[in-house]
């Protein structure tokens, strides 16, 4: 194959058959404006310089590439590195994208920010950049997620965000996104919608990927410095897939590198309670793009389940759908229990408490690393820290927090 994996999407926002712009007419002119504005910003040295400066001094980039020595020794296989995006300001990779998008919002003269959030990591990152740039922001969050992510809800409130609980559907991420889209269509003139993952109508999947690609670009430089060569395997968890694409994208055309995305297997793929859109779903149209979706035979969207509120989205970014079909990326699953075990394992062994999202990636590392040779290099994206999850983990482990 001579085709480059980094040439997509086409001008219609398609990655193969996936992606596109499936939105109501009211939004369409604005979506085209966002696309135009982003195209210009991407070429604009001042925009890039401002973003770079904020990444460095506000977020703390580059995030370290850390050799997990004790984990490597314990698993007895490949040499394991963590890309430490959990050390970013606000504690996850989400801020990379939010900074880019709020700079674009400012450039477009928008005066109001909205966003959806599941685990609250994206919501916190949006509330943070909105505070930093002095723009009012409204965060849509499923009522059920508000209940299980209390610390993040409180953080967003402290940052000055207005939280709008969504009770429609199961009250989780998909419903929050519906409600954000309804708000957007109502306030289309002054509002910028900061989508948190590589989904939604074009240009969002490509734009969010570009803003997250800093993860992979840094990894490339850092591993060259530390090992003098590129890694053999990259692993990241996938809900919508923004941290994974951010790590993978700069490596897509390095064909010998294995790329592995880990979806949330929940209670198991043989149950209804999982969020593995690629493993258990089929192509369909939701939230502005064609991608793999969990759905019934009538095309009604099902609710995803995962122990991690950040992964229980019933869809996945369209670029991942395409990378699955082309075979460039392998997609696997890790269950709730495996993620919970990985969470504890890593916390004890490395003194790093992963969020439940990357704990899924870690669960796969634990399975895979021992089968690999000691001279093989594996990089896992530690895309968020676990502070927000301690209440959920305590509940699952039946421990009391006083």
């Amino acid at each position: 194959m001579s085709h480059s994996f980094t040439a997509e999407p086409d001008e219609k926002g398609r990655f193969g058959i996936f992606g596109g712009r499936f939105v109501a007419e009211t939004l369409m002119p604005l979506i085209l404006e966002v696309e135009q504005a982003y195209k210009q910003a991407k070429q604009d040295a001042d925009f890039q310089a401002e973003l770079l400066d904020l990444q460095k001094h506000y977020v703390g980039r580059p995030s370290p590439l850390y050799f997990a020595e004790r984990l490597t020794a314990k698993l007895g296989g490949a040499k394991i590195y963590f890309k430490r995006d959990e050390l970013n300001h606000t504690g996850a990779h989400k801020i990379n994208n939010c900074l880019g998008q709020i700079l674009l919002a400012k450039r477009m003269g928008k005066t109001r920010i909205i966003a959806e959030t599941g685990a609250g990591q994206h919501g916190v990152a949006v509330a943070t950049v909105a505070a930093r740039f002095g723009l009012p922001c409204k965060i849509f969050m499923g009522a059920k997620d508000i209940e299980r992510q209390k610390p993040n809800v409180f953080r967003m409130r402290l940052l000055g965000a207005e939280i709008c609980p969504v009770t429609a559907g199961a009250g989780t991420l998909k419903d929050a996104m519906n409600e954000a889209l309804r708000d957007w269509v109502t306030h289309v003139e002054n509002t910028f919608y900061i989508i948190g993952t590589v989904a939604g109508p074009h240009p969002y999947p490509a734009m969010v990927r570009d803003f997250q690609s800093v993860i992979g670009l840094e990894t490339k430089t850092q591993i060259m410095e530390q090992e003098g060569r590129l890694p053999d395997i990259l692993i990241a968890c996938i809900g919508g897939g923004s941290n994974a694409i951010g790590l993978f994208y700069p490596f897509l055309d390095d064909r010998t590198i294995r790329l592995i995305g880990v979806e949330a297997g929940g209670l198991g793929l043989d149950t209804q309670d999982h969020a593995a859109s690629l493993a258990g779903g089929k192509p369909g149209i939701l939230h502005g793009n064609r991608t793999y979706l969990l759905q019934d035979s009538d095309g009604q969207i099902l609710e995803g389940h995962s122990i991690s509120a950040g992964l229980d989205y019933p869809g996945i970014g369209p670029e991942h759908a395409w990378l699955k079909e082309t075979g460039r990326v392998e997609y696997v699953t890790a269950s709730d229990d495996e993620a919970l075990e990985a969470f504890q394992f890593c916390t004890h062994l490395e003194g790093i408490m992963p969020a439940l999202e990357p704990a899924h990636a870690l669960a796969h590392v634990i399975k895979l690393a021992p089968q690999l040779k000691a001279d093989q290099l594996l990089v896992m994206n530690m895309c968020g820290r676990g502070d927000k999850d301690i209440f959920a983990v305590a509940q699952h482990l039946q421990m009391e927090i006083d």
Partner: protein, 273 residues
């Protein structure tokens, strides 16, 4: 493409200098039998065109009234195939009243676009409004629908600027659905002079009938909108009446038909005055 029931309907109304009353209900809300009775009753009440909602789990462009209608219909076991059955049954008794299916793309995509168009056409559907298919995605359903002989009706919004209008109008047939405001169904319609300006703007680009929808809830409002629109859509107000007349378990009562149809009748009268 050949004349459809929709074209014929507007021609007849235009001769009589009348505005079309387009009523929206969701197929299967609150149950299949009641929605069949509603369809038959709406025509009798003076509705000119039926807009039949295809229930979807994630109706992103709809307000709470139609969201709940979708939810009730899905709970009652409604599917896209059963929606087509409902149209088929209606057609056995009514060969005139145009039926436009309105909804979202995914259920059609799962059914299969080509079999859906064939089945919809043979069931007696006349047109389609698919909210999440802007003209940029016309090759998905719009162009194949036109080939099948079904009208594909694009929405035109206040945000659809003049430069963009030709693209939106290019493959539209039957009528234009002008969205009264930037917002979701069931929100309040803006002052009518603003909507009238928007309609006038679109009229300079097309000879197709222009229908106004979103936020029109009362006979009085309909009368005012009828002064400048070729048709007026009422959805949330009817659907809310259905909702208010259900018993505590969500089942239809005698009032469901009588009150919903009484509202429709008063709306039809308002347009005929």
């Amino acid at each position: 493409m050949p004349q459809t029931r929709i074209d014929h309907c507007f021609q007849t109304l235009a001769k009589a200098d009348k505005t079309a009353f387009i009523a929206f209900i969701t197929a299967g809300d609150p149950d299949i039998e009641t929605s069949y009775q509603l369809l038959m009753g709406l025509v009798e009440a003076g509705v000119d065109i039926i807009e039949l909602g295809m229930p979807f789990s994630d109706p992103m462009a709809d307000g709470i009234a139609i969201q709940n209608a979708s939810k009730r219909a899905l709970k009652a076991g409604m599917t896209l195939a059963k929606t087509l059955d409902l149209v088929r049954r209606f057609r056995q008794h009514d060969s005139q009243t145009p039926i436009v299916l309105m909804g979202y793309y995914n259920p059609i995509y799962q059914y299969g676009v080509s079999p859906f168009l064939t089945d919809a056409q043979s069931a007696g559907v006349d047109g389609l409004i698919i909210v999440d298919l802007p003209p940029e995605e016309d090759e998905e359903v719009c162009l194949p629908a036109l080939k099948t002989g079904l009208n594909f009706i694009h929405l035109v919004a206040p945000t659809t600027h003049d430069k963009r209008l030709p693209l939106v109008l290019a493959n539209t047939s039957g009528f234009i659905y002008y969205v009264s405001m930037t917002g979701i169904t069931g929100a309040d319609a803006p002052p009518e002079n603003l909507v009238a300006e928007g309609v006038a703007r679109v009229k300079t680009h097309t000879n197709l009938p222009i229908v106004v929808g979103f936020g029109i809830k009362t006979p009085e409002q309909m009368r005012r909108f009828a002064r400048f629109a070729d048709g007026v859509v009422v959805g949330s107000a009817l659907v809310e009446t259905i909702s208010h007349t259900l018993d505590e378990t969500g089942q239809a009562t005698d009032a469901t038909l009588s009150q919903t149809l009484a509202l429709a009748r008063s709306m039809a009268q308002a347009l005929n005055e």
